[in-house]
């Protein structure tokens, strides 16, 4: 019996080792909690969920008002990412509330929020915490009388075909999204005080946000390209958030539907939704644009050991390796704009690192003629990439007293004068004493 118990304890203690989850070495999210209003979404949006499960995500579907849901247990998060496909929920069940979602993001986890027209105050509050504000009118939708999608089921031009993407390959993938993306839902604006939130898909300049059922009596509060349809946030802790005002853009109906933009003769067989949302969820779930820096080294030119201290005017070489996570492995990151700073209160040296195209970056420079405690700093912040912030402290000492040059030819006249003064003193002493 005791033996059995021992085996059982051993087995349970090993379970965490086998389960894959987000870690610095393996930064893709694995366990995803999907909160839905009702389980019909599971089948009506199955193409999107299918693309996630086929990439290895473990999706756990729960009703948003399920009393047993919780993001963490015993202080450990149960999930790496949270998907809120529950635009109309008034109150989450279990222990989830806005504060716990914010804490979830603050501890580095990812979030996808899809609202819809008639989005609840709760979802709006979550969005506000993330730096975007949905149109306050609950019945408002984004309307565009010029860039709508031609279809046979929509007469009020709320089905928008948008192709105004952010120009960032890291977020949307290197393959160009050819077909416009179908969108039907509520628009939002970015909080100007929040510098981390980015518009990924913005409405055209002819769009506005209003209630399509009623007559437009007042000028709409949100108009033109200030309306964002899909936004992303990368927090300072590299947590990523996707916010959109349309749940239906994830649906199978929109994925499969053809799209023809009003006024355009090109009819695309398939809308851009699938490609767009697949690529952007790769970004959100850290399958792309996640950098790591390893092997930070520095040494004097011609040596290989890392010294504990440098002397002023030493020539040194600094190198670092930067890799990007591709979802399955670390690939070399190639760029020509990585810079290193030799920093003490302000950068004394700022140098662009040269790369060997295999992820290895290096630069040679001369230690400035200033001594003190310096830092090697790499502050690399690029749109869509996780930020790299490396710093390594290194003291710099002045010359030792015996390291200065001596007997300089240029100084010989000065030496000569000093010695001639001594000789003069000697002779003068004799002359002064013996001349009477």
């Amino acid at each position: 019996m005791a033996k059995l118990l021992l085996y059982l304890t051993l087995a349970t203690s090993l379970i965490p080792l086998f389960s894959v989850a987000f870690s610095p070495e393996n930064p893709t999210d694995r366990r995803v909690l999907v909160l839905v209003d009702d389980f019909a979404i599971k089948s009506s949006h199955s193409l999107y969920f299918g693309s996630l499960t086929s990439r290895g995500f473990q999706l756990e579907f729960k009703l948003a008002d399920d009393p047993n849901i919780g993001l963490q247990r015993y202080g450990q998060y149960l999930y790496d990412a949270l998907v809120l496909f529950c635009p109309s929920v008034e109150r989450f069940g279990g222990s989830i509330d806005v504060a716990s979602i914010v804490d979830f993001v603050d501890s580095g986890h990812d979030l996808i929020v899809a609202a819809d027209s008639n989005a609840s105050d709760l979802i709006r509050e979550v969005a506000t915490e993330c730096g975007v504000d949905f149109d306050e009118d609950p019945a408002a939708m984004v309307i565009d009388h010029i860039n709508y999608a031609v279809s046979n089921f929509d007469g009020d031009h709320t089905l928008i075909a948008s192709d105004d993407f952010i120009k960032a390959d890291v977020i949307l993938g290197s393959k160009k999204i050819e077909a416009p993306v179908l969108f039907q839902g509520i628009g939002h604006s970015l909080n100007p005080a929040n510098s981390l939130v980015l518009k990924v898909l913005s409405a055209s300049s002819s769009a506005y946000s209003a209630n399509p059922k009623s007559k437009l009596s007042n000028p709409p509060s949100l108009t033109g390209s200030a309306i964002s349809l899909v936004s992303v946030v990368q927090a300072r802790n590299n947590a990523r958030i996707l916010i959109t005002g349309s749940l239906s853009m994830f649906s199978n109906r929109f994925f499969r539907s053809g799209v023809q933009k009003a006024g355009s003769s090109i009819k695309h067989e398939k809308s851009g939704n699938e490609q767009f949302l697949t690529e952007i969820s790769k970004w959100v779930f850290h399958e792309r644009g996640h950098l790591k820096a390893v092997n930070v080294r520095h040494h004097k030119v011609g040596e290989s050991d890392e010294p504990a201290i440098y002397r002023i005017n030493d020539d040194l070489e600094y190198s670092v390796e930067i890799y990007e996570w591709s979802g399955t492995s670390w690939e070399p990151y190639v760029s020509d704009d990585v810079q290193v700073q030799f920093y003490m209160m302000s950068p004394y040296v700022l140098k662009t690192l040269s790369t060997d195209q295999k992820g290895h970056y290096s630069a040679e420079f001369k230690v400035p003629d200033v001594y003190g405690v310096f830092q090697f700093k790499v502050e690399y912040q690029r749109l869509g990439y996780t930020s790299l912030s490396l710093s390594k402290q290194i003291p710099v000492r002045p010359y030792r007293h015996n390291e200065y040059e001596r007997f300089l030819p240029a100084a010989y006249p000065y030496y000569g004068s000093a010695f001639s003064m001594m000789a003069g003193f000697f002779i003068f002493t004799i002359v002064h004493l013996y001349s009477k």
């Binding site: 006249p413 000065y414 030496y415 004068s417 000093a418 003064m421 003193f425 002359v431 001349s435």
Partner: protein, 115 residues
């Protein structure tokens, strides 16, 4: 008045020379020594102006050794001058011993700073 300027200057020069000729030999030797030190200092300043101030500590010690020597010699001259009533109680041997001691200290410092 203006015509006689050249003659006046000559007369002044002559009176100075004759007055200086009456100066004791000891003081004349000291004057020569001071002149030598000042001249060496001037040469070094000119040299520094030509080649630049790179071994600046050497330049400073070279020039300061000359200036210091000159200043000490002038001090000695004041003290051993018989006409100077201020130091009439001070024996010239004591003044000379002070001079030697100060010079030793000066040259010790100069050698340290010469680099």
């Amino acid at each position: 008045m203006a015509r006689s300027t050249g003659k006046d200057a000559q007369a002044l020069f002559h009176s100075l020379r004759s007055a200086y000729a009456a100066t004791p030999t000891t003081l004349k030797i000291i004057d020569l020594y001071v002149g030598f030190a000042v001249f060496t200092a001037l040469i070094q300043v000119v040299y520094m102006a030509i080649v630049g101030s790179f071994p600046f500590n050497s330049f400073l010690s070279g020039v300061l050794s000359c200036v210091g020597t000159a200043v000490l010699a002038v001090c000695l001259r004041i003290q051993v001058n018989k006409d100077n009533k201020e130091f009439k109680d001070l024996p010239p041997e004591r003044a000379f011993a002070d001079f030697v001691l100060c010079n030793l200290v000066l040259h010790l410092v100069i050698m340290n700073f010469l680099g």
